[in-house]
């Protein structure tokens, strides 16, 4: 367990209110591509919202199947992002379809931005983004434009809650491994 987690007790649920704009103005940390959204009890994360190009809904459903297959074939395909969860949502506003891409990470997105851009190229993640309005089609040669799109469409949380605050995915996995190992040990003692 990291020292950071030790000081931030995972056994006591925590909620954190976040100021308008998404930053605590007195302690904004600078990343390579700009200010970093703060870590909360629910770790780092983003919620990217954008309007999809009209008539493209079917592409998103096909894409879901392809990501399912990609991860089944290569379970560590997204490991570099240090993820807990990703959620993809389509929802209507006044007859238009909007897309929300929400991720919960153990690291701020700024740190591994280029790795994420690379993943877009190799895992088919590109498909959905290329069907969003205003997405820069030259993103492969222009990483700056890609990053700007993500930042422009990020909607920061104003409140986050965690049942087991600040625990990283690695720590959760270690705990589950330990539980399994103990279970095996008990079997061996029979």
């Amino acid at each position: 367990m990291s020292s950071e987690s030790k000081t931030q007790d995972w056994s006591k649920p925590v909620a954190m209110a976040i100021p308008k704009g998404g930053y605590f103005q007195d302690k904004v940390e600078q990343g390579r591509y700009g200010p970093i959204f703060p870590k909360t009890p629910a770790c780092y994360g983003f919620s990217i919202l954008a309007k999809i190009i009209p008539g493209r809904e079917e592409v998103f459903y096909k894409y879901a199947k392809s990501i399912e297959e990609t991860i089944a074939a290569q379970p560590d395909a997204l490991a570099v992002l240090q993820l807990h969860y990703l959620r993809w949502v389509l929802f209507p506003i006044k007859g238009d379809t909007y897309f929300m891409y929400q991720g919960i990470f153990d690291t701020d997105f700024d740190k591994y931005t280029e790795d994420a851009v690379t993943l877009f190229g190799i895992t088919g993640l590109r498909t959905v983004f290329e069907n969003l309005e205003d997405f820069p089609m030259d993103w492969q040669t222009n990483p700056g434009a890609f990053i700007k799109f993500v930042r422009d469409h990020q909607c920061p949380s104003f409140l986050e809650y965690a049942e087991y605050p600040y625990a990283s995915a690695t720590e959760v996995k270690k705990a589950l491994k330990l539980k399994a190992a103990f279970s095996t040990m008990l079997d061996q003692m029979q």
Binding site: S2, E4, Q30, G31, D106, G121, Q140, G144
Partner: protein, 438 residues
Amino acid sequence: MLEFEDIQHILLTRAPALAARYEFLSFHNGAGGRAWVSAIREKIHSAASMRAGIDKDKRWVTAAFTWNGLRALGLDEASLTSFPEEFKQGMAARAEMLGDTGLNAPQYWVGGLESSDLHAIVILFARDDAEHDRCVFEHEKVVADCPGVEVLSVLDLKAIPPLDYAHDHFGYRDRLSQPVIEGAGEEPTPGSGDPLKAGEFIVGYPDEQGVVANSPQPKTLARNGSYMAYRRLAEHVGRFRDFLRQHGETAEEQELIAAKLMGRWRSGAPLVLSPDKDDPELGADPQRNNDFNYKEMDPHGYAVPLGAHARRMNPRDTAANMNRRRMIRRGATYGPQLPDGNADDGVERGIAAFIICASLIRQFEFAQNVWANDRNFHELGNERDPIIGAHDGTLEFKIPKRPIRKKIVGLPAFTTVRGGAYFFLPGLKALEYLASLD
């Protein structure tokens, strides 16, 4: 095909130099600056001419410019705008993100490097002291002939005793791991990976993703150049030796602590290959001293702690997209050697190095921001790079060991950043273009 005649030598070859000098310049008027560029151009070896004359030549010169320097030379707005944002801002403006905080902050830098008046650097690598002194004198005459060109500061560098190979003031062997550029005609040593696409280091060529990126305009500037991050790092030798004595009772234990901080024995021998005792022959053998990985050979860090300097700066098979994060390093030591057993004399000594890459933000800044200074790299929780990370005495260093790891708390700062800057390293035709602006 690499254009060896147009690429400055520093990008492709290490000069066999025992002495060096860096001069930092300011151009108070464009005409003077351009006259200097024109004069210095004559002294600069291309990669091709360096290779041809390496046995007889005695000195090798490099020139590079800050973004403010390109403006001072008269480059037009459209061209200035085409450079990457981080280069325009300069290193000092990006200090917080780079970890240049506390005593490392630009307000404490020396030599005028934090100033917007810093416009250019000229790097001299000399075969010996006599050649160094001769070139210094020659350059004084060049500067005197270029009105408005001011030398803001200089730094003299020298290979230090007592060892007969390149090493820093702490005693660590240097120049162990360098990437090889595809088409440069060199064979990577075992364990160093395949040669990398030229575009990772030289603008105007396809990179590891097959893309030609980060090329400034106009076309003359868009080929055969590169970017250099300069770092002047003071090494606190007395503090380092005190630390080793504090955490190791015998000489062997002290050597092991030094090795754990670095990830290699001071001889250069990799801990992964020789975890329990030093092996100087292994350290000196380029066919063997880089031939290891972490994921299979040392996943838990029992040989090389997860936070050791070498494991952070080159995580090998434990990081994604390593081919997109490699850098070429050139540089030397400055200041007098502190003999073993002597108390620290308060004189500044250290290394002053250039990190050369095609994208400062993707390569150099990533290494500084994430590998060196992310406190939670590899889930370590409260650590930074023990050698070059930003330290204020509150961080720790964990050494995995069975049954229980050793945790050192209150790690001191062994180094302090004394200056730094971002430079554009133009190709030779680009230098001629800069000299001809009006």
